[in-house]
Symmetry: C2
Subunit: 331 residues, 2 copies
Amino acid sequence: MKTLLLHARTFARIAPRLKGLNAALNIVTVDDAQRFHEAWTSTELKEPPQVHLAFGNIDAFYSPSVRDFMTAILKSPDFDWFQSAAAGIENPALVAIGQKSQRYTTNHTQAESMAEWAIWQAMDYFRKGPGHRANQAQGKWERLRVREMNGARWLIVGYGSIGQAVGKRVSALGGIVTGMRRTPGPAEGAARIAAPDTLMAELPGADVVLLCPPHTPETEGMANAAFFAAMNADALFLNLGRGALVDEDALLAALDAGRPEFAALDVTKIEPLPEESPLWKHHKVVITPHDSSDTPGTITRADDTFLANLRLYLDNEPMKHLVDRAAFSAG
Amino acid sequence: MKTLLLHARTFARIAPRLKGLNAALNIVTVDDAQRFHEAWTSTELKEPPQVHLAFGNIDAFYSPSVRDFMTAILKSPDFDWFQSAAAGIENPALVAIGQKSQRYTTNHTQAESMAEWAIWQAMDYFRKGPGHRANQAQGKWERLRVREMNGARWLIVGYGSIGQAVGKRVSALGGIVTGMRRTPGPAEGAARIAAPDTLMAELPGADVVLLCPPHTPETEGMANAAFFAAMNADALFLNLGRGALVDEDALLAALDAGRPEFAALDVTKIEPLPEESPLWKHHKVVITPHDSSDTPGTITRADDTFLANLRLYLDNEPMKHLVDRAAFSAG
């Protein structure tokens, strides 16, 4: 019998969907107070349990007990399968688990909420959110000529699950999407697909440039001074990928020079963003604390992914989004 | 030969599309400096001209010369056709023109930009825009659990051109739309249509309630204390219709009592909203100065409507969106 580790909140939420698996599965939980329990009986465990399976989601990773959750996995001699609620695998904690686990599966449903972040930021930029709010604070009734999403040209650099989730929404709202990726098109949500080596030629034609490629040696620091200088003066720069994709000093200099007009970042090079970073106070920068995926919907969709893969695991069927173990070895 | 009155900026923009109509049409313009010109020759006119046709758009009505534009129409003995860029006809200036003109046509393409306003406001509410901005101002990196448009339940009160333009976008983003209007469904963008007499029963089921019905004796003040008390505590109230639909004192009391959670208003009972109105400073209220339609796209689409109707007028064909003259008589 395999032992599955869940955060207590996760178990409470999905318990009804785990009934009937008792014969095949021993379930243990860890709560925010760092206590382990036998899930169905609520019996507290004296020692951290040895586990074979675990589901690492927001409940577990944003909990005060994240260290206990990690340690239980890393100290178990026969750890077999880890389901991540995230798409990325380069976080050090996830790399450690990936090296430990026989099998590691990812989840790509965060893209839905992340895509809504991009729509939010673009609408607030096009509709002159900052200008309207400044006027409201002064009790000033002044009509502002704003722009439309309808007809706006988007360049989405990295057209994977996140890029496509954004592209579908932008297209549905009348925007014109160029998706940038190695694999040629067509692709859902994009009017056309452009190859990464055309980046510098594509930048001047975009009203919104969104970064969401994977973080690799080739993409690191890709948004540099030359990149920003190639953008339109009335364009918006968005980063939903990784902070390391952006040269933050170059971005600040570019904004001060007036090109692009505005930037919104859900990710920064150092997270949490240090209090002294000039990004916080720059009037042409919106910072959100890497919470673009933090919705109840994201949690529920990750539960669905986990439960579907758990069923496949118990039936000895191939699981979805299985990562090649070699991906964790190089480091 | 008929004389057409345009704002000078409108003529400058659409002149290429008016070429070839010289034989049928004498075109005069009025500019922001209150000067009238013969359009094609730029000859200044000594007197305000007598005109037969006019196109009343943002250029004309938000110009310092709006009074000259109006007077030229109202003093012309044979004024025949007025194309409005607006959908509504209850503004006193428009009523005066409607009573004067033999024919009066409206335009419904403002709905596209107005619908984007609703998406903007809903996204900023769901994503906790105010909370994120307060944190950024303090340099505080704190993840906020936010909500999704995907799966959000909208009640759109008044499912005409504006309501449908919103409904289409909300549905495309995964929201679930109930459109409220007299005419039964189906209707584009709505999962279902509900009759106006079910209003009080529909309010509790909505995450977003948007008002955009026409302003009539029945709809005036419809958003009153009972209306707000029936809304969800975590719901958003939006008004894209007319300020007179809302009891503003009741709205403020309802927000203070915690139901609904937030309101965004593009229209207010008195416009411009007086500086002393408590709506300006309330932390649960967003005010925009009736500029939800104020985009270049709105201007271009109204040009298209005017030019299409001008062609029909000159060909003696029935024009689109002709208003029954009786609509202007009651007053």
